[in-house]
């Protein structure tokens, strides 16, 4: 039982990271109708910028994080304005592949600037742990949960109550009707990319912190956030959070139990488990748990 709860705690900490990235996917999907594969690039950028400000330039850690998040958001806005806006009206598939191309350019830009070595973030949490009863909490995990919870709360409050948040929902619902109401779709696109860039930068910082290190491999979190996003439904922000946590917990359970229960599934099966869950869910519910089914008329 202790193991089960411990795995749940660790899994949730892992899952909130997925949730942040998945939220970025969902925000852009709602605004523009495409999955943004370059999200992994933003994750990298956030981690390396935080490292750069904090370690190389010696700024305060939280100031560095804030700067990284702001720059992540700005890069998002820039990419939207310079590149993605030209793709309006093109087939969805073309836009998706374009974001894959962007991902490659971003990854190589990051590795050209900061190199291929693993870097130490020297964040305030380090490898410290605390014990509470039978359970072990990594300080990084606690930080991940707290920071993500704050970030997600801020997002949902903004999404629900601010004028811009309402505009975003209106554009997602019916772009033309929203335009007719005087909502600027351009502004909504820009804000969506800014939010995606910001949450991805935050997710990147959390990935590179603690016992982990800042390395190019952290962009993989975006690939594992796909199942989280699909699980929740492509256009549901709440679904992204639920999906992220479910995927994190399931992945951790698999890591904890599969070697004993089903060793024939092989080593590191937990790394592909999110995809197995995703496929099973999609077979039952083709639009994810909370996604809006598309209506098709000839």
């Amino acid at each position: 039982m202790t193991k089960l709860l411990q795995l749940t705690i660790d899994g949730t900490a892992l899952g909130v990271g997925y949730a942040l990235v998945a939220l970025g996917f969902v925000v852009i999907y709602r605004a523009t109708g495409v999955i943004n594969f370059s999200q992994g690039g933003f994750v990298l950028l956030g981690a390396y910028l935080t490292y750069n400000f904090h370690v190389t330039w010696g700024l305060n850690f939280w100031v560095s994080v804030a700067l990284a998040v702001v720059i992540g958001a700005l890069v998002g806005v820039l990419i939207e304005a310079l590149i993605l806006r030209r793709m309006v009206g093109q087939p969805v598939f073309a836009v998706i592949i374009l974001t894959i191309g962007l991902l490659f350019v971003m990854e190589q830009s990051v590795s050209s600037i900061w190199g291929f070595d693993n870097l130490n973030m020297s964040d305030p949490w380090g490898i410290g742990t605390s014990r509470l009863g039978d359970f072990l909490f990594g300080h990084k995990q606690v930080a991940a949960m707290v920071v993500s919870a704050l970030m997600l709360t801020a997002f949902f409050a903004y999404f629900k109550y601010s004028v811009m948040g309402v505009s975003m929902r209106a554009v997602a619902l019916d772009q033309e009707a929203a335009l007719a109401q005087g909502i600027s779709a351009r502004k909504v696109f820009a804000v969506s990319w800014a939010i995606a860039g910001a949450v991805a930068a935050m997710a990147g910082m959390l990935q590179g912190a603690g016992p982990a290190s800042v390395e190019l491999g952290i962009s993989f979190v975006a690939l594992r956030a796909f199942p989280a996003m699909i699980l929740g439904g492509l256009d549901s922000p709440g679904g992204a959070v639920v999906g992220g946590i479910v995927i994190g917990v399931v992945q951790n359970f698999t890591a904890g139990y599969q070697p004993e229960i089903a060793p024939w599934l092989g080593n590191n099966f937990h790394l592909v488990m999110p995809y197995v869950v995703m496929v099973i869910i999609l077979m039952v519910k083709p639009y994810g748990l909370f996604g809006t089914p598309e209506v098709h008329r000839a």
Binding site: I35, M87, L98, V105, L223, M278, H296
Partner: protein, 369 residues
Amino acid sequence: MRTRGAAPDLVTDYAQDLRLVPNGWTAAGLLLLAAIFVTGPNLFSGFWVVVLGYAGVATIGAVGLNLLTGFTGQVSLGHAFFLGIGAYAAVQFGMNWGLPLFLWLPLCGVMGAIAGAVIGPFALRLRGQYLVIVTLGLVFLGEHVFKEWRSLTGGGTGTAVRPPLTLGPLDFSGMELFGTAYNRQQMLFWLIWAVAAIGILGAKNIVRTRPGRAMQAVRDRDLAAEVIGISLTRYKVGAFAISSAYGAVAGALYGALQGFVSPTEWNLFLAIQYVAMIIIGGMGTVFGAVLGALMLTALPRLIEDVSRRVDMPFVSGDKGGPEGFVTIFSVQRAMFGALIVGFLLFEPRGLAAIWLRFKAYLKTWPFSY
């Protein structure tokens, strides 16, 4: 300059439009290609024969993917998985069972088709971007299975791929022809491009007959296609099966050419490369897939080749030595990404469209505008 009345190149009926060899120019072009094919191993240096061999493999795979994505509109990021299936089918049928070339190569295609037919039904249930992500998941699941199926794939260390390569009097693992000795790579150049030619012809014939028109109808509006009596099950699953068969044959030849494969090769990057080939080449044209495959296979090697001769500023690992902050690998990857972005922004219809425009320019010269 035309002297014989109305321009004879204008297409005036459908039968003409569907002809494989519409005019003398195409015939001359095909003859030229045939000549390059026959003399290839003598014409190109050893390095470029190998590169062209890989380009041939990529051509087969890209033509297959284009049937699925370009003609049927089903986006797949899972092509790498089917290539892997082909390579391991070659290990099983060719090496473990010792079947001859004319049996194991088609069998690889059959295995690919079966795998595709199993995955195909997902395309019936899922739409658009959900399907993209599922095929992406397929690549990760496939990589895992390939890594763990150690008896067949050799696990993390990989496995040799040395299936028998004799066909009648021809031995593609190296033989003497007309007094000249040809090595394995040179012989495989002929084998691969011969298979590629068959594949291209097959694809051409699929897309200009009823199944091809049905596939394009599904791509353009699947509901409308269904209403006029096209079975979505049949054509979506069929397109997956055919495209995977092409992919598997490409994978088998890739393994044979490389002589060795490891499970990590069938990754997302490979799958994206194939998608990039059909985008850069031109979606929905067989010719475009060929162009894209040639370009994306040759370009990195060309960069490598140039880097060995020229000292580029900021680039390490080139002729100038290790200084510089960008590796040649980074340049290749970034170039690859930039190519995708550039083509999608400025020429979404790919190299094939550029070629068509160039042809139109020549045809109407000197009255081009």
